[in-house]
Structure formats: structure tokens, C-alpha cells
Symmetry: C2
Subunit: 317 residues, 2 copies
Amino acid sequence: MQSTTQSANAERAIIREVGLRDGLQSIARTMPTAQKLQWIEAAYAAGLREIEVGSFVPARLLPQLADTAELVAFAKTLPGLTTSVLVPNLKGAERAMDCGADLMLLPLSASQAHSLANLRKSPDEVVVEIERIVDTRNTSKSNTLIEVGMSTAFGCTIQGRVEPVEVVRLVQAVLEAGVDQVGLADTVGYADPGMVRDLFALTLPVAGARLNCGHFHDTRGLGLANVYAALQAGVTRFDACLAGIGGCPHAPGASGNVATEDLAYMLASMGIATGIDFDALMALRANVAQWLDGEPLHGTLWRAGLPKTLSKQKEIA
Amino acid sequence: MQSTTQSANAERAIIREVGLRDGLQSIARTMPTAQKLQWIEAAYAAGLREIEVGSFVPARLLPQLADTAELVAFAKTLPGLTTSVLVPNLKGAERAMDCGADLMLLPLSASQAHSLANLRKSPDEVVVEIERIVDTRNTSKSNTLIEVGMSTAFGCTIQGRVEPVEVVRLVQAVLEAGVDQVGLADTVGYADPGMVRDLFALTLPVAGARLNCGHFHDTRGLGLANVYAALQAGVTRFDACLAGIGGCPHAPGASGNVATEDLAYMLASMGIATGIDFDALMALRANVAQWLDGEPLHGTLWRAGLPKTLSKQKEIA
């Protein structure tokens, strides 16, 4: 990925739907497996080609995601779909490889305080665990790709400021460890477009094309502005949650990730292809809203609809 | 205003609070004058130095704004405040000058269809009316500045596409007519950051420093992304409504302008000074929420609060 000198003129971008993982893990109720399967099937039918279906963490910690293996098995039947799962450690990675997930996402927090609170390990100890996971993957000849999600890359609710040089150091460390790709995540909604521009500008020369994901929470309304800044830096792959579900259990009503449908709209409006069919996506959103009745949902497109101009473009195309 | 070659590194920016006009005109109930006066006073105390207090349109059309003259009289007592009013025609302009408003905003729709529906005049007929207003202002030696707000500059719900060359033509026409400044408005929430970048790039060479306002509705969640794109083009003055009030009566729940508090947060986070005191602004937002109890409000900062990092910056500063 070469920098496009702030033109944001990418022809294509990829949206990875992470609502089933990042969204549902923040919601107390457990969505029945049958609904999750419908979600995956409908998201695929709407054109999404990357879906994070769950997480291999102990079921006692996140009972909402206990059916991840079953979801991976189903997702693998859909041609051309990249099935992604989050894994926190080697044990989770072994489960991901056993069930043949296409990609496993390893979170590495750039904040010392967040890393200790979340995984009881320092960032450098997590890097060591990542090295073990890479070794295991390589030895076993598994095809599962390894992506590191650099969480709290733009700041941390516990520690506060996170030094950009620390983010760059950790990105370099995991790339040297042999991971396939890495993304920068604004886990707590602290990023602004200037920070996004600056941190990608600092990290891209080190990481090159292997830095290829932006994960932005919309906690303070800047999610899509941050996506635009990342697009300008040359990033063309983004995480998003349908209906913007998720968020922080300590901030009731706070948004989760950028809403898939709003992100898809922004990209489409800018002429950046994502392969998404809006009618199908909005029908799925309506189903998810019904399944999660009573939970706070976000996003704007479901109310406002597509602009007349965009619908016309679609008819012409 | 020179283009800062997409760096968005402005040191200062101005937020014009337009909630009392663009917000309240879209809400059926009439806010009592006493509350509006409190709003103006508190907004000023929170550091806002431009406020659009109302509109000189016939009271039978917009009874919600019938007390505009009284609000201007009060706003003029606040030192250093630029008091702005919207006027649709010469009659309104005469009232604005009579009461000594600092600035009058003249809407000119770039969409033929929108202009005819809204003012029963073509854009070119509105330009003629603007010429008459400029002549009257100059003859009367009034100090009231004239700003043209180019509405539907990014598209129109009636007509659909609006040609950028038509926007440029009309901007040139009103500048030749002698207006002091001009802004581009996304009246219906059709803009995306790429369109904002392109339209400002096209218009700035014609208008120069007299093009100095961005007015973005957040109908489809792109308001702040659009502000960022305009900042990169060199624009440093933006309209906003506290709590994002307003929107379209035909789209229930659709957002109005970008929320003042969220915009102020984005700018502060980027190190761009606005002079705004967040505690005071959020206290005012809570009052407005009480006054408008039952109306749909927007914005995210009121829920999420400032990031730890920004609060610390504030303590250090």
C-alpha cells in the first residue's frame, strides 16, 4: 500500500464486519446461534467478503461468543469469504487453526496499563506470545493468516496518552516476529483525523503494505472522519459493526465501531467500490435491530436513506 | 485563506452557533424568548463569538423566529460577539440593518428546483435580489456584513445532482455583486469528504479568502468528516447547532447540523483553538435538552465525555 498523497482516490476498499465479535461481546445478552448464522449468511449475500465471526476466549469469560467454532464451520462454506476470529493467546490460536479459520486477529495493546488490565501481560510479553503463535502456525503448516490488531493505538482510558513511537516499536516487533498483517485500532474512541494521519504516516514507512486495517470506534462521533484520514494515508480496509453496535459497558449508550452501513455509504458516495448491496444490507440491519430489540443501536443511513444522487448513480452503473 | 495543502494545521477556527436559527426553525414548538436569551448569554460565556440568533422572515411563515429583533438587541450588548441573522430578501435585509445586526446571511440555492420551491425565484433572480441588497447596504452606509450561504451546493433532494460549475458561477456572481463573504452549505446531507475537497478546490481559486464558511448537515453521519476535508482545503469557519438540532421535517429523527459540542471537541483534539470552554458548553447543552424535552437531539460528546488525554492537555494549558 503506497501512500496516495492524501488523495483518498482508492478504487476499492474492504469492509470487515466485526459486529458478531466486537459488537456482541459488549452486549450482555447472548444472541442465539441460529440468528448469528442468518447474520453471516445475509452479510455475505449483501456483498461482505470479510467477517469476524467470534472469538476463541474461554466461554466462562464471554459466553456470548461460545459458539464461535460452529460459526467458523458455516462461514467456511461460503465461497470467497475470509472468516476471521479473535484469539487472545496460543490456546485460542490453536482452536482457530484447528477449525480452519482463514485469519486470526491477535490483539496487542500499545498501552502498558490496558495490556496488564486486559491480558495480565505487558505488551512485550504479548509480543512473545505472538512469536509462539507464529512459530506454531508455521510448524503446523496451517494456512490461517495472522493479523495483529494494535489496540489503544491512539490513547487509553486507563493510561491516557499512548506514545506513537511505542506503537511503531510494537508494530515493528510483530512484523519481525513474522505476522502477516497489522492494523491500528482506536479501541476507546480517542483518535481524531489529525492523529490518524500522523500515526499512519509514522507507521507506514516501517510496515509498508502489511499495515492494512483501520479499526475506529465512533465513541465521540469521529469514526468516519478518522476513516477518511486513513483513506488519505492509503489504507483501504476497515472494521465496522452493523448498526454500530458495541461500545463500552462503562459508558451506557456510547457508540461501538463505525456503523457498517454508514461506512459503506461514505465509500460508495466517494466512488470507492466495496461490493455491497445497500438494499440487502439495510434489510439485514432491520433484522439485527429486531434480534437486539432494546439494545442501543447507532448509524444514520437507516433513517435518512441513500441520497437521490447515489441511487441514480447505482441505476446507471 | 490560503490552501494549507491538505494539512489541516490551522491554529484557530471559528464555530458559528446556528442552533437558534437553523435548529429552531425545524422544530414545531416555539422556544420562549427568555430561554433564547439564556442560550445566547450562555453560549457567549462558553466562548462562542459568532451566533446566528434568528431570521427576518415573515412571522406567519416561521413563528418560532418572530422574536429575532429582540435577540439581536440583546446579542449586541455582548462585547466582541458577531451577531448574525438570516434574511431571505431586501425587506428582511432592511430589518437586519435597522436593528444593527453585524452580519446578514443570504441563502442562495445552487439548485434551480430547490430555489424555485423555497423562494419562488431562480438562482439568477436571487442574485439580482442580492445585488439590490448590496446596493441598499452600501447606500445606507450600514456596517452590516453580507454573507451568502450557497445552499444545496453538494446536491438537492428535489433536483438531485447540482453541477459544481454552477456553484462556482453563482459564487463568482455574488462576489462580483459585492457581497463580503460566502460559504458552501450541504443543506440536505448529500456531501462526502471527497466532494467537499473537490468543490472547495474548484471554488477557492475564484473566491479566495472571501470563501470562509462550511455548513454541513449530519444527515448521513458524514458531517465531521466533511469538516475535516474542508479544514484541509483551508476553511477555518464552520456552522454548527448545539445538540445537532434541526434536520428535515420530512425525515423524522434525521440529524441537523453537526453538533457544536462534537465539532468543538474534534477541533480541540486536533490542537485547533476555538476559545470554547467545554464545561460551560456542556452545561448549556443540558439546559437546551431540558428546554427541548421530547425533541430528537444528537451528538456524542455529552454521553462519552472528553478523553482523559484532552482533559490533561487542558490542565497543562
